[in-house]
Symmetry: none
Subunit: 206 residues, 4 copies
């Protein structure tokens, strides 16, 4: 069953309004007014402004987190030597999977990135960063050799943060499939080279 036409139009208009003014600045009455329907109509579909935002964001936010978690688990399940050989949860396959999903649901991630202040999604990216940060350190500790200095947590935090920022810039902007993929690969290579040096690992073929 496809969603009702009214519902679909609400979604489209809501995305526009939220992106333009942010969750807090967006006006429900403005959304429905532009659609030529009334607030009552809206409340037949959702019970609040927040639940509308949620409906737009939640499925895709969850799915992306799942993709990330799945790849991470697969990686963690590998024997240690293989982990070293393939490196990092944010491995090529993982980032490509994430990109493949996110690029098809741009609006949801735009909302998270650009309009989620005041919702439960305002920390979504931070949470992703945190998980990646933790898995990075876990990995480093595993491969850390005697006498090697600890990984500077502040440094790794800001690097992971920048990495995700770069990645999501690719989602925010409308970029043709092919070029997007190329950029993801280059972004991956860019960071991988940097990480390997920080990890005291020899360069590898990615």
């Amino acid at each position: 069953m496809t969603e009702s036409q009214t519902l679909q139009r609400i979604h489209e208009q809501a995305v526009e309004e939220f992106l333009e003014k942010g969750f807090r600045g967006a006006s429900l009455r403005e959304i429905v007014k532009k659609l030529g329907v009334t607030t009552g109509a809206f409340y037949g579909y959702y019970k609040s402004k927040e639940s509308l935002f949620d409906a737009l964001v939640e499925p895709h936010a969850r799915k992306l987190a799942e993709i990330y978690a799945t790849k991470l688990n697969e990686f963690n399940a590998l024997p240690q030597e293989q982990q070293i050989a393939m490196m990092s949860a944010f491995s090529k396959a993982g980032i490509l999977d994430m990109y493949a999903y996110a690029k098809d649901h741009r609006d949801a991630f735009r909302l998270i990135l650009l309009a989620s202040e005041g919702t439960r999604w305002e920390n979504y990216i931070h949470d992703l960063v945190k998980k990646e940060f933790e898995s990075t350190h876990q990995f480093y500790e595993m491969i850390q050799q005697e006498g090697q200095r600890a990984l500077n947590p502040t440094l790794s935090h800001i690097l992971v943060s920048g990495m995700f920022s770069s990645f999501f810039e690719l989602i925010i902007h409308e970029i043709p499939e092919e070029e997007g993929l190329r950029c993801v690969e280059e972004l991956y290579a860019f960071y991988m080279a940097g990480w390997r040096r920080l990890f005291h690992l020899p360069g590898d073929q990615v």
Copy 2:
């Protein structure tokens, strides 16, 4: 004469409220209530909620942009060979200067980064990214050798974006001076290595 005590307390409380709820979500009444004064008292100091935000942000936002612009101009004034030797406007000296300033005025940049939606500062970081992006391409064109491929603008955009994100993470969080400096240097080295590869330049000592 130093600023009145009430004004100072308004500043402190405002920073807290803005950071917690964003510019739009922040309530002037809430700010003054926590101070134990009335809205009228506030309007003796500022003529609007926006002008309060501005007062907190503008001087430091301007100064940082100046520091950036100054370094960029200095770099552009260099003869071509020296530019190549020292590379990129976001060079080590520049980024250190910016850090030295920004770390002393964390609140202003936190406000820009975390609470500026709905103000004229909401594009501040984007604008910095854009300038850096342009100067990067300008530099690349200068050094581009025959037969070399153009720099992928999408890639460079997302990298610059990530670089600034990393940098400002350092500002957002309270980090001891010494460690902050170390991170800036490492961040610089991390990116410089990546850029040099993209620019087809030999590695250098930074």
Copy 3:
């Protein structure tokens, strides 16, 4: 369909409040409180205090100005001799038409006359006076005979001003139809006699 009962009650109460306190002194909250509704209810009908005032005033103000302009145009279209014979745009037919309309929409004109300070209607009467003043002088110039002195513009201004004041006093106060009409006629005769003398015209039968 007739206007909603709430809207009608808003109108009635607004007229009362505006007349009592003037546009500036009137309080929207007071108006709705007396109606037993909330301010939100009001803003379902009008988008501002000014637009409420406008809705009460505009249609009738415009119509009266039209009636005046129409009569004036008719008069100006007459051949010169006939104009002299019938005299002045503020002629009997015109003033009677204006009275017939205005007496049925007293509230609108009361608002203009007694409560319009701070609105775009505050100069409505002055503008009418100005138009009549100009048409009066135009007429005088047409009939002016060689050697006759010019009409004193200050004098004619204050007379026109007084004439309109008298006329609108009739509108402000609740006066039975029949008596109102008689007064308009007498007012007309009163002024006509005076003007004819100033114009050096022989008395006429009006």
Copy 4:
């Protein structure tokens, strides 16, 4: 002793502000701000906004009412035949005296006429009109001859109202002494002729 310079400047600025925005719309803080002083300074001179308006208006409003009353009393003290011979309380001498005073204190009367809504002076003109109306009727009753119709009170009210409007237009506008006087005389003649007809009196030399 002349008034302090600050006080004088308050007066000048207040007149300007009141005339521009009306009593209700005028802002005390705006007045003092333009003067470069503080509200505290103002409250050293007056105890309220209303009392400032009063100070500007009251002396001249009272004086003009006195001039009017004095002339009226003088007239009423005359024997009946003389009253008939000279006619009307608003006689030539009276109106000239009023003009002589009012023209020298334009600002006070401008305030009454244009900016008194919300003050105790908002009915000043109406009150003058009322007194004149009463004295007119009193006079008419005295001279009324058997079989003559009563003076239509509505008509006389609107005529008196118009007469005062004309008169005060002369005060509102800055008019050179000589021309103002001429206009008063002509205004007097204009109305006198009309009244005489309504009173069934023969024309006279004015």
